[in-house]
């Protein structure tokens, strides 16, 4: 195991210091072995490794789009040291067996800590609860459950799930989308969808589910997490729920903090995503919600798709965008450069708070004794997104060609240097 000595790095408040890594942990200089590699981190900022609570790794079943290995590499490239694998794989991760498989793959590759998320219902079919306890007690120690990709739309099933996970301090992460209001929906319902002849996905289909779920969570006193909030109305409901003391947390994706539904005018399916891009007013409400804490964290919803799934007419294209490698830069652009958050506040929302919600040990802080999970970022430089050069196996990014702030130069996972940017 290598030891490292990182000299002259700024922390998220700008204070310059030195940091030392030994045996996978951050240590005092005195505990360092003499053979430590020295890293000159002058002008770089050291941040706790980012923690994603919403990642699609596609393995098992869709290895043509991504694998645990390539997804981990993509994560490390983006400065993430922990990711949470959504269960909409083939087979669905609704048993101890599948979650353990994903967990062990993550461990084996050793690039990023992979925390599998278990399905709420068998096959994500929405009717029968999956063996949530078995998944929790497996080696994967699953605590977060989601049918993401689908909504747990049956109120009784959602209630039971919320009650059941109280056994082990678990959390139900809901993909809020009323299926009856969104059959065949292609993009946000509004003036643009009316003009483009694409079936609309109305905001109320998200808001109505969030409203119902926060009331259920209140009634049974359980933890609810709302995935990828995209609507101003949704933010309002969550704000009110928190004021009432309801145990709800929420996430927003980087792309929903920046992009709007008018991008669909080009009919380029790179902008097709579920839940869809919405209006300027929604973007503004999401930014304000993230700033005031109504929305707790940023989560990428990294959704890799092979080329042929996007190289076709809009209605035939798959929904989703990759996002691990651009997440920090986009979030920085949307929230720090606009002065809505300080760097430190942004980093909390990408690292400390998601780690708390998931109860992930060893992530979210840079202090002596903590796991050596951190990234070194050059905040003075910019980088150009070149889709074909992404580490992810899939290249479906809506940011291709953009020049973004914040270059991730190195990432450490449990004390190992797992990513280093090639200098040009």
């Amino acid at each position: 195991m290598n030891s490292y000595s990182i000299k002259g790095a700024k922390d998220s408040n700008g204070k310059v210091g030195n940091y030392f890594v030994s045996d996978g942990v951050l240590v005092n200089e005195s505990e360092l072995s003499s053979s430590a590699k020295e890293i000159d981190a002058k002008d770089l900022t050291i941040l706790p490794g980012f923690v994603d609570l919403h990642t699609h790794l596609r393995e098992p079943g869709r290895e043509d789009a991504e694998t645990v290995l390539t997804g981990s590499m993509s994560a490390a490239t983006g400065g993430f040291t922990a990711i949470s694998a959504m269960p909409n794989t083939l087979p669905v991760a609704d048993t101890a067996g599948v979650v353990e498989q994903v967990y062990r793959l993550g461990k084996h590759h050793g690039i990023c800590d992979v925390y599998p998320i278990g399905a709420v219902t068998v096959g994500q079919g929405g009717t029968q609860l999956a063996e949530l306890s078995a998944m929790n007690q497996s080696e994967a120690a699953v605590r977060i459950f989601s049918d993401d990709g689908h909504c747990v739309s049956d109120a009784l099933v959602m209630r039971r799930a919320l009650e059941y996970v109280k056994t082990f301090d678990g959390i139900i992460a809901q993909h809020a989308q009323d299926p009856r209001l969104t059959q065949d929906s292609q993009m946000n319902e509004g003036e643009i969808s009316a003009r483009l002849g694409l079936k609309g996905w109305p905001a109320v289909a998200e808001e109505a589910i969030i409203a119902r779920d926060v009331l259920l969570a209140e009634h049974v006193d359980s933890r609810l997490h709302v995935c990828h909030v995209t609507t101003a109305g949704g933010v309002e409901i969550i704000r009110t729920a928190k004021e009432r003391g309801i145990k709800v947390t929420a996430e927003v994706t980087p792309h929903h903090l920046l992009l709007t539904d008018d991008l669909a005018e080009s009919y380029d399916p790179v902008y097709k995503v579920n839940p869809p891009l919405r209006t300027k007013d929604d973007v503004q409400a999401l930014r304000e919600g993230l700033a005031d804490g109504t929305i707790d964290i940023i989560a990428t919803d990294h959704a890799p798709h092979p080329q042929e799934s996007k190289d076709c007419e809009w209605s035939a294209a798959a929904f989703g965008m990759v996002g691990l490698e651009t997440a920090f830069s986009i979030a920085y652009l949307a929230m720090v450069e606009t002065k809505l958050l300080t760097l430190a506040q942004l980093v909390d929302r990408m690292s400390k708070i998601p780690a708390q919600i998931g109860r992930y040990q060893g992530h979210g802080s840079i202090s002596v004794g903590a796991g050596a999970n951190f990234t070194l970022v050059d905040l003075d430089s910019k980088w150009k997104v070149e889709r074909l050069k992404l580490a992810s196996k899939s290249k479906n990014t809506p940011f291709d060609g953009m020049v973004l702030p914040g270059v991730i130069t190195k990432t450490f996972n449990n004390g190992a240097l797992v990513y280093e940017r090639n200098s040009k």
């Binding site: 319902e189 509004g190 003036e191 643009i192 969808s193 009316a194 609309g200 080009s266 009919y267 007419e313």
Partner: protein, 320 residues
């Protein structure tokens, strides 16, 4: 004009030029001239992924009357039904050297993708993409209105058009709304609320849920086909209720202004959105719409392909 993908590609002047050109061609066709040599040597491909006999034949007739060579590609039974993508179909046809592609497809935006992704080198004409647009239908509708109500000259100012029916799913409605507004007509949409798209307030059109309230004020009654296949989606309780509220019955037709005309893009559900009597009445210009379609499509083909195309001009260094 580079491609014709959407009515919004056209300025008012360009739209008027198409109508004026179509008028001249219609006049010539009424005389002895049935064929012009103008597009000799050009190849036009009809790329139809959806069944449509009338539109395809109309484009074919238009292309042939200009002496173009026509290749017809029908998706059923072709490689597409075996899973070949739009992109590969386009690339294959491109190898045959098409100067223009007339595309009808079930997905909104298909024509845009053909044009923008540059899978084909030719000029792209949208003959109907999903529920998005059908520009040549709107042009022939405007042409028909202008002939009857404006002596074939000028724009459509002062003309009030009522578009009745399934606006939500109608590409004909979308193109017509754009074109009629561009030509300064007044447009009112008449449908049950479930069939009016959210977001229509930006379109500067009137909206009414009552055909009876509007019928006496309209110069043009444009009835849209009820897409019966949509019934499952609960847009209205029964066909009977729809016909009672929004069907163009003889009683309603008799309330129309003296010179008002009845239009329908076809195919009609006689007895549903339009009664048989109304369809066959002296007010109905439905059959004429079909004939005008050929002249309008000839005008579009002439203006896109008759001179140098925008790509040919670009490669020779000139600009349009």
């Amino acid at each position: 004009m580079k491609h014709l993908l959407s009515i919004s590609d056209l300025s008012k002047d360009e739209a008027m030029e198409i109508l004026d050109t179509a008028a001249e061609l219609a006049r010539l066709s009424e005389g002895a001239v049935k064929k012009f040599p103008t597009l000799r040597g050009r190849t036009v491909v009809n790329l139809f992924f959806e069944d449509s006999t009338r539109t395809r034949i109309s484009f074919e007739a238009a292309a042939k009357r200009l002496s173009a060579d026509v290749i017809n590609f029908a998706a059923k039974g072709s490689s597409v039904s075996k899973g070949e993508s739009l992109k590969d179909t386009a690339l294959t046809l491109q190898a045959m050297g098409a100067d223009a592609v007339v595309i009808r497809h079930g997905a909104s935006g298909a024509a845009h993708q053909l044009a923008k992704q540059e899978w084909m080198k030719g000029v792209v004409i949208n003959a109907g993409d999903g529920t998005h647009e059908h520009p040549t239908q709107a042009l022939l509708d405007a042409f028909t209105i202008r002939r009857h109500l404006k002596s074939n000259q000028g724009d459509l100012s002062g003309v009030k058009v009522g578009i009745i029916g399934d606006i939500l799913h109608s590409r004909v409605a979308r193109s017509n709304i754009l074109l009629l507004k561009k030509l300064d007509a007044e447009v009112v949409l008449i449908a049950p609320p479930t069939l009016i798209p959210v977001g229509v307030s930006n379109w500067q059109v009137g909206v009414s849920y009552s055909l009876d309230d509007q019928i006496k004020t309209l110069d043009v009654v444009m009835a849209l086909r009820v897409q019966k296949e949509r019934m499952d989606d609960l847009y209205f309780p029964t066909e009977r209720e729809y016909a009672r509220g929004y069907g163009l019955t003889s009683e309603r037709m008799n309330q129309m202004k003296a010179k008002a005309i009845v239009m329908h893009p076809g195919p009609m559900n006689r007895g549903l959105e339009i009664s048989a009597e109304s369809a066959d009445s002296h007010r109905s210009v439905i059959v004429e719409q079909v004939a005008n379609g050929v002249s309008v499509r000839m005008a579009v083909l002439y203006l896109l392909l008759g001179g140098a195309t925008f790509k040919e001009l670009a490669s020779s260094g000139e600009s349009l």
